[in-house]
Symmetry: D2
Subunit: 438 residues, 4 copies
């Protein structure tokens, strides 16, 4: 096992819920069967290179607060390789099977376009070897189309065609890299695909640009035979004033409008959901109802703060609700639970990274166990089935099967007694959830 950057840390073990060891799993037991799959198969955890390897603690008012041993090398390529080494060591010690990256996380920009392309290829080779030797896999790759200032006004939706072309070329290379590494998905997060002010914006033109941009990627995917799932990650705003992929429904509308719906699923992030005014489970439910819940960015936000805090998930209520939706749709397919989360700016030690991931993994393991039990017991599902049962007969059945028009409906209504509504029993259902927590 790799042992260079996290020397003080042994592989994290499952010790059960009574363990007092902060560096052990209390609930996540990788090979434990829950239903017909192991926990690892259900949860498909992934470490985010972006935050956990590259995060520096910088915020809008302050300089980097976190120093990482893997960033010491002076030569950018050496530094990138060491960072990749650290990533795989972290993955192994956590027992996480997947990782995710942006192109610019793993390989430094060069002086010229070609140099940048070559840098990426160099590091992809390095990662490939590490994957082979460790068995760790790539959940998804993506391109960073927001950090470089040329993307200040958008990438696919830049008013500058050259920038759009530049972004498209970058995406091509990121897809190539993802394919080379056997990535199971490829993600688009349009961090600057939006507008700052309508005063200088042609909204429809930008939407059409974005559609073209994605069609280029779809065509290229087919051409090269990349079989991973394309995913779009909605977010309402930040850094832009408005982002075109505001939330799940908005994104699904866009994909339908521009004939892209067959090629994409959604990557739902908890904190992006709440920034859009939705609960995490709402966004998961909307995506799932459309058959489009492809993957999850598993973090949490602070609902009293108005920006993406990207905290590690710890709320058992949220992980339970999320796992109920995921279990009901029979898992995430090629997707997974990616910890798109960063340690707090004051959590400056390497060990904080470990605490953070343990906490997130245990929180989802608990959510899985609880959700599985709730589904098995059918308490909620029986209640819901009964609640809608009037649609299985009489006028309900007729309406739903298209066998009654408004005149007939009115006739039925005018002859019937007044409808009687039963209690929704929200409090009892909330109590039931609480009784499963533990």
């Amino acid at each position: 096992m790799l042992n260079k950057f996290f020397k003080d840390i042994n592989q994290i073990q499952f010790e059960g819920k009574n363990s007092k060891n902060p560096l052990a799993f209390k609930y996540y037991d990788k090979d434990q069967k829950v239903g017909d799959k192991t926990m690892a198969e259900h949860l498909r955890f992934s470490v985010a290179f972006w935050h956990s390897l590259m995060g520096s603690g910088r915020d809008i008012f302050g300089d980097p607060s976190i120093k990482r041993a893997w960033h010491n090398a002076k030569d950018p390529i050496d530094k990138a390789k060491e960072t990749m080494d650290a990533a795989f060591e972290l993955l192994q010690k956590l027992g996480v099977d997947y990782y995710c990256f942006h192109d610019r996380d793993i390989a430094p920009e060069g002086e010229t376009y070609l140099q940048t392309v070559n840098n990426l290829k160099t590091i992809v080779e390095h990662a490939k070897e590490l994957q082979k030797s460790t068995g760790v896999k790539l959940l998804w790759g993506t391109a960073n189309l927001f950090g470089n200032p040329i993307y200040s006004q958008g990438a696919g939706t830049s008013p500058n065609a050259h920038v759009m072309a530049f972004a498209a070329a970058q995406v091509k290379n990121a897809i190539d890299a993802t394919k080379e590494l056997g990535g199971e998905n490829y993600v688009f997060w349009g961090g600057r695909e939006g507008y700052e002010t309508l005063l200088n914006t042609d909204l429809k033109h930008e939407q059409e640009q974005m559609a073209k941009f994605l069609h280029l990627a779809v065509d290229y995917k087919k051409e090269i035979g990349f079989t991973g799932q394309f995913l779009i990650e909605p977010k309402p705003a930040e850094p832009s004033k408005h982002q075109y992929d505001f939330d799940a429904a908005t994104t699904l509308y866009f994909l339908k409008e521009y004939n892209l719906i067959d090629y994409f699923k959604l990557n739902i992030e908890a904190n992006h959901a709440t920034l859009a005014g939705h609960s995490f489970e709402h966004e998961l439910a909307v995506a799932s109802a459309a058959g489009k819940l492809g993957s999850v960015d598993a973090n949490r936000g602070d609902l009293l703060l108005g920006w993406d805090t990207d905290q590690f998930p710890t709320d058992i209520y949220q992980t339970t609700m999320a796992m109920m939706i995921i279990l009901k749709q029979n898992g995430l397919g090629s997707g997974g639970l990616n910890f798109d989360a960063k340690v707090r700016r004051s959590s400056t030690d390497t060990i904080d990274l470990i605490h953070a991931h343990i906490g997130g993994m245990d929180a989802f393991a608990r959510g899985l166990l609880i959700a599985h039990k709730i589904i098995e017991d059918k308490v909620l599902s029986d209640f819901i089935e009964k609640r809608y049962s009037s649609f299985n007969s009489e006028i309900g059945k007729k309406i739903m099967s298209g066998k009654a028009d408004l005149r007939e409906v009115e006739k039925w209504v005018s002859q019937a007694e007044k409808p009687i509504l039963e209690s929704g029993r929200q409090e009892m259902l909330e109590n039931i959830i609480n009784s499963y927590i533990c």
Copy 2:
């Protein structure tokens, strides 16, 4: 002219911007031409029966604070007739050509279903005569599917099929009433079409119910030959935890998903936009870009408060932005600007209703004048055209016309210089808007 409930008030006149008379228009001059249409033709104002005739000042913590002379009659039908009389007097004195209503605003519920139906017919007859004698027209009708407690758990999306049928029958009668009165549109606002908790909700079933519900209405419309435009009014929440028609994009997605898109346009409300986390102009722009901006509920919210305050529109910036979008799409067609706004709970006098409408009408008249001038001067449009001009040639043109694939784009990029991004000039553009205000 009717003169019973607003005896102290003469018809409001245009007196120009230097008038100090609070009961005169300073900007709204009905017959003044702006471009090729009169102000009245551009703005198509409508008084909302719901708020202005029926509003009582009740809020969630307090009893009605406003007493209206037209609510004195004891017999419900007499009261309804007097209220209708008051509406037309108000319309005439304001010089507003349109009004809008919910079925339950204008006609009281009866003991039985049939009685309720008959009550509505009685008042529709009364309104028809008033329309004839005054020339006032009906902008739209709608059904109140939220006030009656049987709709506590939804109307079209009620888990109770009987309730859904009841709602459908109610909609049939409301469409009949709207047709009878020559209504130019019919609106659906799904105030309870949403959920309180996912714990007792089958989200997909409810969406399918809603689709069936709307298809029933579409079929009926065709059958009876009602030619008005069907409109849906998005709102994110309140009173429900979540409403299915969250915002414009969400609603457009729903309409596409369920093959309803050809039969509906959107009625955008300013305050619903802001509750969904969008600016008013954003929602107008999204609807307009989709060719679906059908009508406007012209009010304003308080962005620091989390509920629908439904205040009369007074912010010239907002009315200007709104009119720019409306002018660019060449008007609202059969739609209009409906004052879905209520006087404050402490504005207890009848005259406050007059102040409120004068303020709203003047604010939109100013918005119209400013927007027209800005468009005529082409300051913004020239800037925008230039900003996107790189798409008219070279790689931009190729991409947008589908004549380059990713390989070609990359080749072009690798041979080109680095892209150069021009300033977005937001501050200058904001200053230009300010220079037109006045």
Copy 3:
């Protein structure tokens, strides 16, 4: 035991956490000792007359959805007595020792001022007997200074002196009633004490009015020898645009500014905290740090909705954090945990009231057990103590004890090494909390 309005319900029993009986406590075991007090002594639960006896399910868009058997009597006094009977039956069956009321909840307004006063006296007599026969006590009383439309523009802060006087007289009677019933506290919630628009408001005058208003009450309290604690309940807004008692700190400032600080403590409500942009525990912590945490309105809000949803508390994280603060200050003294919470509008059955209270009581019982264990184990407190330990020696000690001025501090700094900051360990601490949940 009373047995008229909740006939189907026996007294709720503690059955332990493995019980599947939804009508049993899983955690709340009244007489169980936790530390040196019983659960009942720690938690001092109270039922809110306002919501649980008087709530009708009305919301801003809909009529009452909930019918209660105790509201059937036609005569207002009979109805009020039956409602009081129902309250005590509910209290007994839940095993709750306290209740709270507004004057207008328990006694109907009369035609004249004197009649209203007499109505209150009549019902107070009735309540007194019920208290005697059941042993239930009054946690606090208060006056409803927001429902009657004369309070539309404020009560103590009304611009109309007559209204202010009217409100003052009402408060006098409410204090009298509270004293008569042995109320342990008296609460002020200034639901309309704020403004709608600064355009018509003299903010300073209104603050001075409010101060006079409270001084009148303080003087009266002394005069009549009422020994209960006066409490103010902060809330930022709703129904008003702005409320003067925005949050704990704002209220403490007001009390200090007007020499009222010695006579008041705060009643912190969870949902009011979140509407003000604070977490529940923040407001508790601020009040407690000032020695002013007097009582708690134990409910929860929905952070994605912008109004007071007043839901029953069920989130174990929140109840744990709350109980940690309360235990650290050695309890709430004469205060308690009042369920200022209402069943959802769709929870239309009487049994829903029972489910709701069981859920709230169990949630706080769990919070108590967890918080007690955390405090006993000293995990967090040891961490915190160590974190601030540098203030126990050297320059830290000197500064805190006022023994160093800026020149000396600078001298020390200029001679010292650069400071070294230790990790804040937020993720580990969050994991520790999770390990106690269960």
Copy 4:
């Protein structure tokens, strides 16, 4: 006149409201008398070094997008001097009389503490000469206690006493620098004075630390005879989860609690107000009512975004409301209107800085003109006076002068008719404001 970094730009002239020149003032006419003072005397504009000279367009997702000619020098001291030169050139060309800075904006950190101190002294000398030669003055100085990662966990409220001491020494030098430059005020913005999680925080200890920290500064101020006004700038959060100076009222409470109230006034920022859930004018009104409105950070936020966007002020409604409050308290004394605002990240040209300031200055000049006219016409003040007039006689007068106790008030109420409430006329008042806009 300096002419090096803004060579293409001449001094901005007043050309009146019909000018189409984007590089001219339309309303701000420095020497125009408004009442008994010139516009310059009323408005006391200040350029913020922080944003306008040092801003790079960096945001949390992207690298610097803005390059400034004055940042080209390699040597940090040369760069700092050139930046100061650019500042004064900008000030002169805008005709702005004041500037503000953080210590770290104007002078680079050195290797050692002493080097840092010396760097500041060097640049202060340079600034002093520029002030002398141009007549520009220093509105206020402050210390940046948030950028350096040692302040990650607070400065005055750091759990690390060494950090607190380090911050105190830094403040000493910043006060020295401010005094040396004749600064008229000194500001404290506690950007990291708050907490990230209560789990590791001793809230009361941190508040006491902060009080000690400020007392050290107060004592030092007296000792050295610095006569500028001390100001605190409230902000609720960001970057911290919670900031102790949440809003005006919270800050005033803190100052009172720790006997600091006599030594401080408030510097109110528009965008901080809205992040705290208040309108800009609310915070100004609260501070002014307490006699504590000392200065203003004149910017604007985006109420639909949850972070500090720090945009230049352009909304005439807001500048009007602000100037009404400022005029009523007879100006800001030694304070001013500091443009704590940054050009958008896409506004990458130097000229955008000019547009931005022109827009802000014109917006406040218009606000001044409108507010002055409204006050002169007494329309609002007469309305308000009449609204509260019942406090000038009878029971109102008695209550306010402390001459009636609750018994007497009740007696009066029981003999009087029911109170009659007059309309608050909000809509009419809003229309009046609109009639003055223009």
